[in-house]
Amino acid sequence: MKPLTINFRSKAAQTIGDEQVQNSLEHVYTGFYRGRLNAAADTHNWEELRTKGKAIKDHTIAHLDHYLEMFSEKVEENGGNVFFADNADEARQYITELATDRDIETVIKSKSMVSEEMALAENMNESGFETIETDLGEYIIQLAGETPYHLIAPAVHKSRKDVAELLDKDFADGDRVPDATELTMLARKQLRDVFARADMSVTGVNFAVAESGSIVLVTNEGNGRMSTSVPRVHVAVMGMEKIIPSIQDLSTMLRILIRSATGQRISTYVTMVNGPKTPDEEEGPEEFHVVIMNNGRHKLLKDPFLRESLNCIRCGACLNACPVYRKVGGHAYGWVYPGPIGAIVTPVITGLKDANNLPAASSLCGACHEACPVKINIPRMLLELRHKTAEGSSDPNERTSKFAERAIWKAWRTGMMGRGRFDWGARLAYLLMRPFSINGWIKKAPPPISGWTLSRDFPLIAGESLKSRLNRRRKKDI
């Protein structure tokens, strides 16, 4: 997926002005945010679970090479195939070649953010494979030709009327808007036909268990189960950080993931796949492939300040808690991962140069840190990225600060380092600012700094320094 992070401001402004989308975004708060708080309150050892979840992820990420090796060996031992993809292109190519080689006609896709990184459905369709998203939200998004709005609720911004028009133009005719049940049943019917004829599936991975080579899928709809039951080939795609060491660790990780995502105690379905179908089973995929993707994640791993972001289990709790996300919506973030976690992952993976608005779009209120089930200190990392933005980088492709900005700060530094220079600078600033001020305040600054005074006033610098005023008074007293 091509990053559009550079459009953050315009996309955000557009969303804030869209009343319907603002109403839809309310659900993120009333549904998910409150749901998580209730679920946490109902769980007697919630804090203990979070601490343990963080410790499991910290440990795994610190030994990611070891556990990746263990996991891939186990998958192969169980009769599956593993493909290591350095980037999205390699991953997509592997899956497309596999589909060609196995004479695949119809591919069903379960929700997977990693597959969004590869724009997989779009590309597979272009390559001639009928590829259908089966998560209801993703299906709606695919029909609309958009990208997901939220990690858990991809179509949270769509109204019933929008959905009706997307599912069936005739269905939306007249004034009556069908209710959610009618629309869901219509989608069920449409997707049933697809399931029945699918010969390949692509799913995500919620957890990959290193010791047993298992993958675990969490869904409410059951499309994950369809994907692991009907087609003859199953491809599971995962970011390399999805590993946990032991089967037993699943009880902790599932509890915190599901409660944080939807507020449920458990999702309707949790599916654990330990390889292709066993010989005595009647149906199930005969081939099981796992695609493990890096796609820039090693940059997060390498940076001691940002490594913690790989602990993310993609529950979406930080999005729901974030006062900025709840106003600017998911599309403003311009790539696969929106919200606070997206503001860290996206700039590092797609380049800070175009995405420097993302870490800035936060009040650093800390709600995301408080909400995170694995206690990722998101505000600290946002500050780190802001620091990188301000300092610039030695890599000219990554350099974010402009020449003028660096020149101004350099001049500032020089000016601040000597009394004479400081007095001279202050005097100059006073003279420059005075024409724009009214009663000692600048209400409307000229470009290029006009943005600063849009929401606040700037005080006029005093025409005379404190020191010189005191000197004058002392002379008078004598």
């Binding site: 599932l254 105690r265 379905y269 330990n274 009647e282």
Partner: protein, 249 residues
């Protein structure tokens, strides 16, 4: 250098090392617990399920109800059979598919169903995975009005039914038909996910881990349209949990 080696090397390098080092023991993950400990934990979990059956059943009833199961407690085999027949009749089921779970042969289900005029098919492994057989099994599941299964384990904490697909227990049986009926024996209720995964880990370390596992907690649902919860998007619209509280169990 293979793609795998190159990939893992890059990870090692990003971690600031030159080669993979073995992790030191860590309290949080169970991977450092050896086979003996894992086996005894698994055995304990199974023992507890038998020892605390009454308490666990009561918890299960409550949480299954919350999860969206229609829960029924029956006193004997006959009553269970009658109940299943009446659920099938309510849905005007013409074609019913059941798994080969032994609990379903304990209750006089087949005779009761055929007496009611329903066509019953049992998913049993007939031929060794020929394509024709697979297609037949799939289409049976998609055409059935009701799917009936046993329960391998239940989880009281979450109201969950655990099923391991295998010969005679098709993956689609509990998913494709619009109504799913699960029949539970009281001694198979575990307290929580901890016990379930303790058993799975014990099985794994003893080389007995099954091919796959499904945890089912209520009917299929979605809230993807305006946040309104609707049941039955891809899986069953209605799910029944029948607990057979027979003295023989």
């Amino acid at each position: 250098m293979t793609a795998k080696v190159r990939f893992i090397n890059q990870v090692t390098k990003a971690l600031g090392r030159t080669k993979i080092i073995r992790p030191k023991e860590n309290y949080a993950t169970a991977i450092f617990e050896d086979r003996n400990l894992a086996s005894s934990k698994a055995a304990q979990a199974l023992e507890d399920a038998k020892a605390m059956t009454t308490t666990l059943i009561d918890q299960m009833v409550e949480s299954a109800d919350e999860a969206g199961w229609k829960v029924h407690r029956t006193d004997n085999f006959e009553e269970s059979a009658e109940l299943i027949v009446s659920i099938c009749e309510t849905h005007r089921a013409k074609f019913v598919l059941r798994s080969a779970h032994s609990v379903l042969t304990d209750i006089p289900l087949d005779s009761a169903l055929s007496a009611s005029g329903t066509v019953l098919e049992i998913t049993e492994h007939s031929s060794k995975g020929s394509n024709q057989q697979i297609e037949k099994s799939k289409s049976a599941a998609f055409n059935a009005d009701v799917g009936i299964t046993g329960v391998d384990y239940a989880i009281a904490e979450t109201g969950t039914v655990v099923l391991h697909p295998r010969a005679g227990v098709s993956r689609l049986l509990s998913l494709a038909p619009p109504t799913h009926i699960a029949v539970l024996r009281p001694g198979d209720v575990l307290a929580s996910l901890d016990e379930l995964f303790a058993i799975q880990r014990g099985d794994f370390l003893n080389g007995k881990l099954q091919g796959s596992m499904n945890l089912i907690s209520g009917p299929s649902k979605t809230a993807d349209i305006e946040g309104t919860t609707v049941t039955g998007i891809h899986g069953p619209l209605e799910v029944h949990l029948i607990i057979v509280e027979n003295d023989q169990y």
